[in-house]
């Protein structure tokens, strides 16, 4: 905390002085009210118009994912032989697939699976990954060596083998199985990034100071090191969410993905791939949804990064 205050005084830019001068009443108020870390972050996030827009886009997507299948008026698994491979129309907004199923319903139904997989897997693996990476970096030495060797082992065992084994072992390809399969090694990447960053932080003055004051290691990791690594973690998460959506698509592609009649964006996209020259719209809509989700998470992530970064508190 002491360091942050010091930095604040050091970094107050010229504009602030001017604003104070112009409106004395407001400045009095601001000066009296203590702005906490989270409140300050939220204030800065709100100022970022693009991040806000991304957030709204995400809300719209989530709205459709929840209500879309109902709005479409079709059952996502109902086949209609009289309406095979139809172009988007007033009846079928996104067209129909090779079995005559309504794509509008399918895209949103698939979105449920994809978004859940993306969010949950990214959340779980970034939590595990940052704690693991943090511990490794903080203790260093032998602990770090052993922990990083475990990560190397996990990352090196062929992923498909593990997935096949899990699906045979649990005899299911449910959402839960999928999440286990995806997160089992998914956290390793974040662990490595976090460790790399924290090795740098570890030797910085504020950590040394905390150490000298006798703060517990866990507290140092959670309170000082992780917040200072947040920007990197957030960037990694925004890569990870679509990454997991794609991983699930790849698994669908090799027949190990989510089980029929359930579907996902990835599954829809890969099933449309081999005939995309003939029915481009079947690929376009799921791909667009993936792209929009990705865009929203990325822009929001950038906004969050700026807002949460203690070094950028101005």
């Amino acid at each position: 905390m002491t360091v942050e205050t010091k930095m604040n005084t050091a970094q107050i830019p010229d504009e602030k002085f001017r604003i104070l001068g112009i409106n004395e009443d407001e400045s009095e108020k601001l000066a009296r009210k203590r702005v906490g870390y989270w409140a300050d972050a939220w204030r800065r996030f709100k100022q970022n118009k693009i991040a806000l827009a991304a957030g709204i886009l995400l809300l719209i997507l989530i709205f459709f994912i929840i209500f879309g299948p109902a709005i479409s008026g079709y059952n996502y698994e109902a086949m209609d032989q009289s309406a095979i491979n139809q172009l988007p129309s007033a009846e079928h907004w996104f067209g129909t697939d090779t079995l005559g199923r309504d794509l509008f319903a399918r895209v949103w139904q698939g979105g449920r699976i994809s978004i859940i997989i993306g969010l949950v897997a990214a959340a779980v693996s970034s939590i595990i990954g940052s704690i693991y990476g943090g511990i490794a970096a903080y203790f260093g030495g032998t602990v770090d060596d052993i922990m990083m060797r475990i990560v190397e082992i996990l990352l090196s065992i062929p992923y498909l083998l593990v997935v096949i084994l899990i699906s045979v072992f649990t005899d299911s390809k449910s959402l839960g199985t999928m999440l286990v399969a995806l997160t089992l090694t998914g956290w390793c990447g974040i662990a490595r990034i976090v460790r790399g960053q924290m090795l740098q932080l570890k030797s910085q003055e504020f950590v040394l100071a905390a150490n000298a004051l006798g703060v517990s290691p866990m507290k140092i990791i959670m309170k000082h090191m992780i917040p200072n690594t947040l920007s990197l973690i957030i960037v990694a998460i925004t890569f990870d969410i679509p990454g997991y959506i794609f991983s699930e698509a790849f698994l669908s592609y090799v027949g190990l993905g989510i089980q029929s009649p359930q579907t996902s964006w990835g599954a829809l996209a890969s099933s449309a791939q081999d005939k995309f020259m003939f029915y481009p719209y079947q690929l376009f809509f799921p791909a667009l949804m993936i792209a929009l989700t990705m865009l929203a998470f990325t822009l929001m992530g950038d906004g969050l990064r700026d807002a949460l970064d203690p070094k950028q508190r101005k």
Binding site: M79, Q81, L99, Q259
Partner: protein
Amino acid sequence: MRKKLVAVLLAGAMALTLAACGGGGEKQVSASAGKTVDGNVLDDEQTYNTYLQSEPTTLDSVKGNDTYGWSILVNIMEPLTRVEDQDGKDVRVPAGAESWESNEDGSVWTFHLRDNKWADGQDVTAEDYAYGIRQALDPNSGSLNGYLITCIKNGAAVNSGEMDASELGVKVIDDKTLEITLENPTPYFISLTDTRAMLPMRQDIVEQYGDTYGAEATNIVGNGPFKVDTWTHNSEIILKKNENYWNAENVYLDTVNFKIINDESALYNSFDNGSIDSVSVGSTEWEQRFDSKQDVERKDFNSTGIRFHFYNTQDPLFQNENIRKAFSAAIDRDDVIQTIFQGFHTPYAAWVPQPVSIGDLGNYREIAGDMEDTISGDPKELLLKGMEELGLGNDPSTLTVTFTLGGTTQWLKTYGEYFQQVFHDKLGVNVVVDQNEWGTFQSKTNSGDYQMAYMVWTIDYNDPYSMLEVMKSTAGSVPTFWTNEEYDELLNQASVEMDDQKRAELMKEAEHLMLSEAPICPVINEATVRYSYSYLKNLSNSPFDTMGAQRVYISGK
């Protein structure tokens, strides 16, 4: 930093230039240029660009078992006989053997070899063919094809290691005469002479290269119309004309390029832009696209693959014949083909593929009939009857059936989803689709851990027996666990009956019997639509043709 950047950029540019040096190529004028065949004048360049959809595992004829390797082997090896498509009829023609005869009951066959040379100039002898057969049956050679020729005297015993190869019924009379004695009279024996199990092999070459025989272009010597020039694994196999071949003057092509293209759209794109000269198409969209292409010829034929469902007759539910029949009767084959394949392929209720012929009698299917009468009745009634017999009540919605699929392609997923819906609509049962990758599928079905599954079976050689044998009680090839003594007996008779007419009757009866008990349910006879540019002449039109590319030529490219 800037210096480093420049260095890095330079390195990249150098790598590109280096890569660029590999290019270049010259046009060669073929020796057969200017010749006239069937009124067509041959082009200067006689190169046929074709494809394989997967890398051959090996060119060792006995260790491999895949169709890709076979496509190469028919071109580089000379079997005793070949099948030639002559105006739509499959005719067995002399190849390595000039002539052959059998004794009266068909248990001893004598082949008279013609003068032919290996690609390295050595004479081809009867011993080379005998060695190939011994290798195929040798339990230590890693052969996957011995089972095809266990009809040869002591073949099964040699293959299991109980007997020495010297006791095999294969005798080299002299350099040009090979005598083969069979365990029993085997009417279809001649059909085995152009399979992997009976191709010639050079003992000295096989021993020289040991385990690596056939693994690289340089590690094999052939005696067929072409020889392997280069083999870039998983990319391309280039064959060149073999000047030592006995019929070399009637081989027109100088070069055959087999491009290995794993991806389906890449394959069609390659044909579309002329990188390959012909392609077989499996979907309506591409069919329409190529139909509208200029200077392209189309040829439709039924191939020899049967797509079928099979039931686990040891499953508590599918042990009941009426239940099996209900699931078979619920299938509307025309609708399957319309919905899933947009009209592609042929609806098919029989087990022996449509193009198969029987001896000299001609097409087997025309003799045996379409077998549509083997399953009849209302599917729902059959189901309820079966449920009653099993004491399961009369509410189909209490049943949940697993439909096990092996394979990871998208259309198979669609196939599963389609039947999930169809069985639900027509029978009122719930269906779970269990899609596995192939290894898991095989393991599950073989151990009986399934209820109903889907598979494709492609015939081994051109005789109905090859297909019917698969369903024998002892075969275990399709794990239905179905056994029927009468069926086995009919097939045993058919396997030794020398009269084609009588054999046809026996096999027809067996096929009908088997389909009526519904351990399996054939759905589709695979069809192929082949497109080729019109400069490509003399392609074979039969799935059983084993002439390779030796008749093909280029005219007017």
